[in-house]
């Protein structure tokens, strides 16, 4: 079963069409890299898939269910890490975990277990610091952890590595591979084109339309390009 199936998805804001009848699918256990310049429509698309934005047209199917009709069931299977990490700055990481676990419906023993896991991963001292005091690398780790508290099958990561140093980025992708091994499906949007090679498949959007869709290696061979960046530039015709 495909994890996500998108057919003719469209979003219009007044006269401006942000997303223009795009179609793609994501297989279960796949890591999809979502690329594109700013304003291409990546975030809009993700928001529509997540149900945060009403599409102007098209169909979205998540794990076999219609994303609009069965929104509540679908929500249960999704984990989301937003662009700004969306952790509450005044709370500690541990308290953030408690909060998000709680509102996802986890019971108290489960919540306690999660917090223990967090402490094991981050180290006791860090998990008790307020988020605003943490450096971006740790914040990113924490945000990823939080998005996974409900053990979702589908994970959406919106620009998770922005502002993070290359080493931390590597560690991050390591973690993502770990998720895939657990059978999760992951969608990652990113600006960093070299990260694209980490993904199983990439999808490139430009001005609301799909311009590239496929496995990175295969695409590179097909088009005789040497890097994803080159692919990318050719795909968008040299504009930025």
């Amino acid at each position: 079963m495909t994890a996500v199936e998108v057919r003719n998805l469209t979003k219009r804001f007044g006269r401006f069409t942000a997303v223009d009848r795009i179609s793609f699918s994501v297989g279960q256990g796949e890591i999809l890299g979502f690329l594109g310049p700013n304003g291409a429509g990546k975030t809009t698309t993700i928001k529509m898939i997540l149900g945060l934005l009403e599409p102007s047209g098209g169909r979205i199917t998540i794990l076999g269910r219609d994303a609009r009709r069965d929104r509540n069931e679908v929500k249960r299977a999704i984990g989301y890490m937003s662009q700004q990490f969306s952790l509450y700055p005044l709370l500690t990481v541990s308290e953030n975990v408690e909060f998000f676990s709680g509102i996802s419906g986890l019971k108290r023993p489960e919540i306690r277990a999660r917090r223990a896991e967090l402490e094991a991963e981050l180290g006791n001292g860090l998990s008790r610091l307020q988020v605003r005091a943490l450096p971006p690398g740790i914040r990113q780790k924490a945000a990823l952890f939080v998005s996974l508290v409900a053990d979702p099958e589908l994970v959406f990561l919106d620009e998770p590595t922005s502002g993070v140093d290359p080493l931390a980025r590597r560690a991050f992708w390591h973690a993502i591979y770990g998720l895939r091994e657990k059978g999760k499906t992951i969608l990652v949007t990113t600006h960093n084109l070299d990260e694209a090679e980490y993904a199983d498949r990439i999808l490139v959007l430009h001005r609301g339309a799909v311009v590239l869709d496929g496995r990175p290696r295969a695409l590179l061979e097909e088009r005789g390009a040497e890097s994803v960046e080159q692919l990318f530039r050719e795909a968008i015709g040299g504009e930025t």
Binding site: K75, S82, S86, L91, I103
Partner: protein, 370 residues
């Protein structure tokens, strides 16, 4: 259950911002104290000047009464002809009383001067009150003159002021001020909290969770309600113990009214926060709404004059929750009345609260599934 975590998070966020705590609890108390000293409908120390061209017994008696009265402050007594208008324009006095010789010997044995009172009309309120005081004072003196001449003033007023014999305006204004402060603070906190969540973009994650819109709504509104009620209790305590106002009725009757009132204005604040796009707009909108609520509540100016002058605007007072709260406060504190007397106002409050809460909930749902 999920709601509990939301409320806990909101509380943590507030508690970890010390200046916010100060603003929410300490500042209002200070404000109430200051306000208590300032807000008064009692007008005193009105600066006046006397121009006495007659210099008879009556004019001297009046002048002396003016000097001794705490209501007035006589800044000048002149025995030459002065330009009253210029004096008023300069702004050193709000009123000039001019005594002249009687223009014609009347058929009566009294020798009473011509009295003219010149008032600075810019402050319509004070000048009218001043005019009222003068009338009372001057006629008092004149009445004594009449008596001296063997006649008697036919009518004398015997006033009996009920519920607030010394007419201390603080007795009523005090709890009213608490209501006002309750309003401003709760409205600000609520509308800010929503706008801030939007600006921080953490709203998305809330929406994606299993929380239902009603739960998100309640989770944000509940802390504001709690703060509002705590502030109210503190404020009323201050007003009672610091200013010593009497409480004739049962204070517990105030709580249902306060809860309904808070529900109403917080829903209103939430609607505002979905309409504006940033915190500054939220501030302005909330502030101006507050002023409107205040003006149309019967707190400063009587509702009867609105009815008389602009009946079309009465409908605004009918839907103004503050109006009913003020009335209930008055009834409880000063008249000692119970719900039997103000059940209608309570019902009106309940109706408004219900309407506003449903409206804001619907609006919220629509807003998040944009």
């Amino acid at each position: 259950m999920r709601l509990f975590y939301l409320v806990k998070k909101e509380t943590l966020e507030v508690v970890r911002q010390r200046e916010l705590l100060a603003l929410m609890f300490i500042a209002p108390l200070i404000q109430i104290i200051i306000l208590g000293y300032v807000i008064t409908t009692d007008v005193r120390n009105i600066p006046v000047a006397v121009v006495d061209l007659e210099q008879g017994r009556v004019s001297r008696a009046v002048t002396e009464r003016l000097v001794r009265s705490p209501l007035f402050r006589v800044r000048r007594v002149s025995y030459r002809d002065e330009d009253a208008e210029e004096m008023l324009r300069r702004g050193e006095v709000s009123a000039v009383i001019v005594f002249r010789d009687p223009d014609a010997p009347g058929r009566f044995a009294w020798k009473l001067p011509q009295v003219r009172v010149h008032l600075d009309g810019v402050d319509a309120n004070s000048s009218q009150i001043a005019a009222g005081y003068f009338n009372g004072l001057i006629r008092d003196v004149l009445a004594r003159e009449v008596k001296r001449a063997g006649a008697e003033m036919p009518l004398e007023a015997r006033p009996l002021v009920r519920y607030n014999p010394r007419l201390r305006s603080i007795n009523f204004m005090g709890p009213g001020i608490v209501a006002l402060l309750l309003t401003v603070l709760s409205m600000f906190i609520t509308s800010f909290s929503f706008v801030r969540e939007r600006e921080q973009q953490t709203m998305d994650t809330l929406l994606l969770s299993r929380l239902r819109p009603l739960e998100i709504y309640a989770g944000k509104a509940l802390p504001a309600v709690v703060v509002g009620l705590v502030d109210m209790v503190l404020g009323i305590a201050v007003v009672i113990f610091w200013f010593g106002i009497p409480v004739r009725g049962n204070l517990l009757h105030l709580f249902p009214a306060a809860l309904l009132y808070l529900a109403a204005i917080l829903s209103y604040a939430l609607i505002i926060s979905t309409v504006v796009s940033n915190q500054m707009q939220a501030l302005f909108f909330t502030w101006f709404s507050f002023i409107l609520f205040m003006l149309l509540s019967g707190f400063f100016t009587p509702l009867e004059s609105i009815r008389a002058r602009a009946p079309a605007l009465m409908i605004l007072t009918d839907i103004n929750p503050l109006r009913y709260l003020i009335k209930i406060i008055r009834e409880i504190f000063l008249k000692g009345n119970g719900p039997a007397f103000f059940w209608r106002d309570l019902a009106a409050l309940a109706g408004i609260a219900l309407a506003l809460t449903s409206l804001s909930l619907l609006n919220f749902k629509r807003f998040i599934s944009r």
